[in-house]
């Protein structure tokens, strides 16, 4: 309530006593909420709404209990406090780029795996300090030309000056979100990097922790989180990328498990980005089995399984798609069409540069010889085949080339490749709907694209922004198998979008935890859409820890313990 007026859409979150679990509901049009939780003890309950100060209370609840708790929220009256409460997307409006190409490079490369503009990343710094930060990020593979790096350094040092930003966001109440519930389960520590989550046949969630060579298992019924460590390998820390100064403390593994998909026999298949391998993980026996594809194939990425049980995955830094037949245990690596001379240079020389770079652990030799810089190519030197999916209609394999704005089709029988330019830039993790339409998030342009694989026509949609001068970086999406709704990550404003193809409308769900950066989206049988919250680093997330997250759009049946 705002001094007697209801605040529809306000989020009420219950935190478990150990702060490992959070459950959230939205207040309805009358400002009422019902929040059922299955954890007891000393809970903290917080009410949060945009433009208002948080209000919270503690309560001691036995397992079976009802409690009525009303909140009266006070509007922010101090500009600095209001500014602090705004999401990263609002703070990014303080950045003023003189060059469109540098702005595009910033959106594409600086938001690549984390928000910019949140509390951690908007600290005022001198130009020299920002230069060091940009240099560090380039070491983590942000691919910028010297001009782009210089422009971005200057813009960040001028824009993030510690002054409050103006709050001009428009927030409209949508009654369709009222029944929804959000559940979050913390996993790991401040350095945990659960890149992707997948839902198993057992309806539990599994997550690939790229930094620590760990598969996390979340029992959604009990909330218990267990970790399973991948076996060791004859590689140094950082794997094939040992010469690269990866984020300190985060990447302490050698495999870098990245993306996962479950086969019909129940085994998960996981790409190991740092060890040029894939591994199977049996969730019953907890056994891993490793398959190496050769260390010149760099950074196996998104993985999907077709109806024949064949495993397909993109290999981003080598401009390749991999095919693995679990029956024969044989790899076939398809080299995708080059994007000109420099992309060929990347393909043929970069593996050797990394090999030589490994003589100098974590010293970033690759940056001294990087043709993205000296040949003025920037990110286009690496096409980055990224998302991949299987067309349910004809079994063809489709992928997105992130940095050169293309999608491509692979004929699974002939392996013939056909590519198409996308109308919006930054096609990232794409997915098919049941009719064979390909849905593609446009990371660089706050957009959503639909590609009709029959007519070969695109249709584009702009994501709903909180203000006209903001942007989003939609990383991934997925299409609900029953409803056909497209669920899309926002990643710059702590929201999830649901696109209704029939009416071409978006439904927007605000998320309760600031700095929520979601990856692959998956669906459970109890109608939740789930993901991993894995801003890099996790300590940048509100609360400082990574988590699994599930949104139940129609609510989750459970015993009522707290009620207003």
């Amino acid at each position: 309530m705002d001094q007697g007026k209801p605040l529809p859409g306000a989020m009420v979150t219950a935190f478990s006593a150990d702060k490992q679990r959070r459950e959230t509901v939205y207040a309805d049009a009358a400002g009422r909420y019902t929040l059922s939780v299955d954890f007891a003890g000393k809970l903290t309950v917080r009410a949060r709404a945009p433009y208002f100060k948080d209000a919270s209370t503690e309560m001691d609840l036995p397992l079976i209990a009802n409690r009525t708790q009303a909140f009266v929220l006070q509007q922010h009256s101090v500009a600095a406090e209001l500014s602090e409460s705004l999401p990263a997307s609002a703070h990014l409006t303080a950045l003023s780029f003189g060059s469109q190409s540098s702005r595009e490079a910033f959106i594409s490369q600086c938001n690549y795996c984390h928000q910019v503009g949140n509390t951690l990343t908007r600290t005022p710094r001198t130009e020299s300090a920002w230069r060091d930060t940009v240099l560090r990020m380039e070491g983590y593979f942000a691919m910028l030309t010297n001009k782009e790096a210089s422009d971005i350094t200057q813009v960040l040092s001028k824009g993030f000056d510690g002054q409050p930003v103006q709050a001009v966001q428009k927030l409209e109440w949508d009654a369709r979100i009222a029944p929804a519930k959000i559940k979050e389960w913390v996993a790991g520590d401040a350095m945990t990097f659960i890149h992707d989550a997948d839902v198993g046949e057992d309806e539990d969630l599994y997550g690939a922790d790229e930094g620590h060579d760990v598969i996390w298992h979340l029992d959604r019924k009990t909330g218990k989180v267990t970790e399973y460590k991948e076996p060791d390998i004859d590689l140094p820390e950082g794997g094939v990328f040992a010469g690269v100064q990866l984020p300190i403390g985060v990447f302490t593994g050698k495999h870098g498990p990245h993306s996962m998909a479950q086969a019909k026999d129940g085994k998960f298949w996981v790409t190991n980005a740092l060890s040029s391998s894939i591994t199977s993980f049996d969730p019953v026996s907890k056994q891993f089995k490793l398959y190496e594809m050769g260390r010149t194939h760099l950074y196996p990425h998104t993985i999907r399984i077709d109806k024949e049980g064949i495993i397909w995955f993109t290999i981003v830094a080598s401009n390749e798609v991999g095919r693995f037949d679990p029956k024969t245990e044989k790899f076939t690596i398809l080299h995708l069409p080059e994007e000109g001379f420099w992309s060929g240079v990347s393909h043929y020389l970069f593996p050797w540069i990394l090999k030589i770079g490994a003589w100098f652990p974590k010293m970033n030799l690759h940056m001294g010889v990087n043709h993205a810089k000296w040949a003025f190519q920037g990110r286009s030197a690496f096409p980055f085949p990224y998302g991949i999916d299987v067309n349910p209609v004809d079994g063809s394999i489709w992928y997105a080339k992130l940095n050169v704005h293309k999608i491509g089709r692979i004929d699974p029988k002939t392996q013939e490749v056909t590519e198409f330019d996308t109308p919006l830039k930054g096609p990232r993790r794409l997915r098919f709907d049941a009719k064979g339409n390909l849905w593609i998030p446009a990371f660089d342009e706050s957009g959503l694209m639909k590609f009709d694989t029959q007519t070969k026509r695109f249709e584009s949609f702009k994501l709903p922004l909180l203000a006209h001068n903001e942007y989003e970086v939609p990383y991934a999406l997925n299409v609900h198998p029953k409803t056909g709704d497209v669920w899309i990550t926002s990643n710059m404003s702590d929201r999830i979008f649901r696109f209704l193809p029939e009416t071409k409308q978006f439904v927007t769900y605000a998320l309760p935890t600031r700095v929520t950066w979601l990856r692959d989206m998956v669906f459970t049988k109890d109608n939740a859409v789930c993901s991993s919250s894995s801003n890099l680093p996790a300590y940048g997330i509100e609360g400082g820890l990574a988590s699994f997250i599930c949104l139940y759009p129609d609510g989750e049946p459970a015993p009522v313990l707290a009620q207003k």
């Binding site: 100098f360 010293m363 001294g368």
Partner: protein, 114 residues
């Protein structure tokens, strides 16, 4: 140990990037050839050879940016980047020595192969 490793990483990067340095040095290499041609009227062969290599080295001698990426010193100066005088001199002298040795080797190989 750290400084030795740093020295070696610079050395490896410079070797890998040597072809690019030579490409950037082409105007100076051409100037060195022209000098070599005309100076034979008044200069001894050995002196002329050393001087020509010096001219070519002016266009090749590298300075490094914050990524340890080498580019010839003259390109840094044209781009208004500051390069320390001591470093410039050292880079030039080392490059001169390497160019002399390399050109001698190449000439020897060419003579041997007819």
């Amino acid at each position: 140990m750290d400084s030795l490793q740093t020295f070696f990483i610079y050395a490896v990067i410079t070797i890998l990037m040597a072809p690019l340095l030579v490409v950037y040095g082409i105007p100076f290499i051409v100037a060195a050839k022209v000098f070599d041609h005309f100076a034979q009227l008044w200069m001894k062969d050995s002196t002329r050879f050393i001087a020509s290599c010096g001219i070519a080295s002016l266009g090749i001698a590298p300075a490094y940016d914050m990524y340890r990426a080498p580019l010839p010193i003259y390109t840094h100066l044209m781009g208004d980047d500051s390069v320390g005088t001591g470093f410039m001199l050292a880079s030039f002298l080392v490059t001169w020595l390497i160019v002399v040795v390399q050109v001698k080797q190449i000439t020897h190989l060419l003579h041997r192969n007819g």
